[in-house]
Symmetry: C2
Subunit: 362 residues, 2 copies
DNA sequence: CTGAAAGCGCTTACAG
DNA sequence: CTGAAAGCGCTTACAG
């Protein structure tokens, strides 16, 4: 009695206008209306006009469910994301999803998001969704070779595309960013600045694959005759905290003058670890990230990082998937160019080494 | 001839298993299978077991489209986002969407995202999607009173919930964060630190409504007998660039010692403007943001900001919408608590004023 | 406890 | 150029 909130008057749901309603109103058959709606040119422009007017007047909109049931109706794309729920709040995923959503809208596709929870995987829904008609194609984000379920797609592999991951365990199509080229640029740049003892922070657990970066890192250093020391390497979760812990470990056990991080989040963590240890970036330590997330330019110091065209990767993957669904059988293995963005977290090495070979003394 | 890519063998789409297939396999009618699938207790445990086994063996999964067509099948929630395509890459939206997605998954709901493009609005699809069955309910993100189309929902208002926006132009249910309480805390804190000339950066164009913050700002200052000067105020786009420009304008035309920004993005821009002008934050200028986005803690200086429970707001809005769809007619006007998070972008005012009243000399 | 049958709203051969 | 009719895969009264 004391509280009296005006209840939301439950306006009865206006009964949807059906195809047959339009047909009656326009004085034609449902088949005709259907054809007009679908732009079938066989209908005379006279009746077309009449039908369109009726559609307009009644405010008719086709029932998607019914359309899908009859085979028509734009197919749905599914985006499979890692199980942890926060993916949408992660800028890395956000960029890719943004690209997917944009291209999907442009192509008139509906996209649905699904998290790869243990239950979903156990029930095999990730493949049955494709086998049945819940989704016509699937985009995979944020998985790597540690994810065993990728093998399950074998039967339906033709309608699955991996975005920005380097998968070797399963034979899947993919749209990726050229991590290798980016890592090469980053490493060469650090070497140019005189750095010889360079740390590497990766994150192999639960997420993006860091192999490509690690390989390139070793390769570039090997070319210079530099032997990588174990103390230069650390692997942790792909979060700021992970990067912090990893950098801390490296800085405690080695005398690196620069650190390459496999993601911007890791790099931000490294920035913090350095600061906490009283190291000034870039004076005492250079830090390079990977991603070029939007806010990385606004850090202090702003982050030197490898730009990954994540938005474009998402958009292209989406387009490729739609093409595939429409019958294109060509192999998909796009690799988008990356480039280093130099900002303020990197500078000349303080201790230019006397000899390149002898510089890695622990 | 020269290039030979292994084309993706187009494995024929395995014909979906239908309800009737299961029925045949189990030696029962389709009605029985349907009831088993939907957990109807009328079926004897014997046949239940038999049917379940058949389902398991054949790998049956109900066809969503068919389910929806018959009225069953989990309804779809729609999330309407501002027209600019980058919403998913924006941490503010990301947090809310994350909350929505999480709760929706927990409640077995499917959620679809749609951008409020001019075309979509012109065609009236934002309401017709509800009138017809494309969506059973709709969540509105990132709109404010400048968005005229909000009036259109009148007829279907009972299935629409506004998330984290203060809408007065239309009578819509909402789940919001308590901007007013947050702004009060922020202002009181700045006053405690001795600040008297406090700037305010808002963003009224295309996005979240800043009225509540502005009102509170004025109110709190008025209580202290402080008259707000025009030169303390600036409004710009809700981006880092916008915040930079707005702060620059304020710093050029006034002698504020602190700035309250209506979003973290704006605050980051203010940080930059200050830096560019040679002002040290917080020594020369205190900056307070609004949002508490994940990366705001990792800025340098880390940002003092009002924490908005965006994830929770998204989750709660999602739940309320489902409850509403299921028949709850209660008014929805949840208001989630906010609080100030003190970090390193704020400190004592350098010039503690001689007199509170006289302190606002330009 | 189970089944036969109608119906959800659309599309698509097939006739005319 | 247009229509009558069957069918998409499911659910739900209605009988038994």
């Amino acid at each position: 009695m004391d509280i009296h909130v005006k209840p939301r008057r439950a306006k009865r749901r206006t009964k949807p206008v059906r195809l047959s309603d339009v047909a009656t109103a326009a004085g034609v058959s449902t088949a005709t209306v259907s054809m007009v709606v679908n732009g079938n040119p066989r209908i005379s422009s006279g009746t077309q006009k009449r039908v369109r007017r009726a559609i307009e007047r009644l405010g008719y909109r086709p029932n998607r469910a019914a359309q899908r049931l009859t085979g028509r109706g734009s197919p749905a794309l599914m985006v499979l994301l890692p199980a942890h729920r926060q993916t949408f709040a992660d800028s890395y995923f956000g960029e890719i999803i943004s690209g997917i959503a944009e291209r999907a809208a442009a192509m008139g596709q509906i996209v649905q998001f699904e998290h790869a929870t243990p239950e979903l995987l156990r029930a095999g829904h990730h493949v049955s969704m494709l086998q049945q008609q819940a989704a016509d194609g699937m985009l995979l984000l944020g998985f790597n070779d540690f994810h065993v379920f990728l093998n399950d797609f074998d039967e339906v592999a033709s309608r699955v595309i991996v975005v920005d991951s380097h998968i070797t365990r399963a034979d899947l199509d993919s749209v990726t960013c050229d991590y290798s080229a980016g890592a090469t640029q980053a490493m060469n740049y650090l070497l140019q600045l005189g750095h010889r003892r360079i740390g590497l922070i990766t994150s192999s657990v639960g997420g993006r694959s860091a192999d490509e970066i690690a390989e390139t890192y070793r390769h570039v250093l090997a070319l210079r005759g530099i032997t990588v020391e174990d103390s230069w390497l650390a692997d942790d979760k792909d979060t700021e905290q992970g990067g912090d812990a990893a950098a801390d470990k490296i800085l405690r056990n080695s005398d690196v003058t620069a650190i390459l991080a496999a993601s911007d989040r890791l790099a931000i963590g490294a920035l913090h670890a350095a600061q906490r240890r009283g190291l000034s970036v870039p004076r005492d330590l250079s830090v390079v990230g990977f991603d070029n997330l939007r806010h990385s330019a606004f850090l202090n110091p702003s982050l030197t990082t490898v730009h990954l065209p994540l938005h474009e990767a998402g958009a292209l993957a989406c387009q490729r998937l739609v093409e595939r669904i429409h019958g294109n059988t060509q192999r998909i293995a796009d690799r988008l160019p990356t480039h280093l963005v130099v900002r303020n977290s990197t500078s000349l090495a303080r201790d230019l080494p006397v000899s390149t070979v002898d510089s890695s003394a622990a």
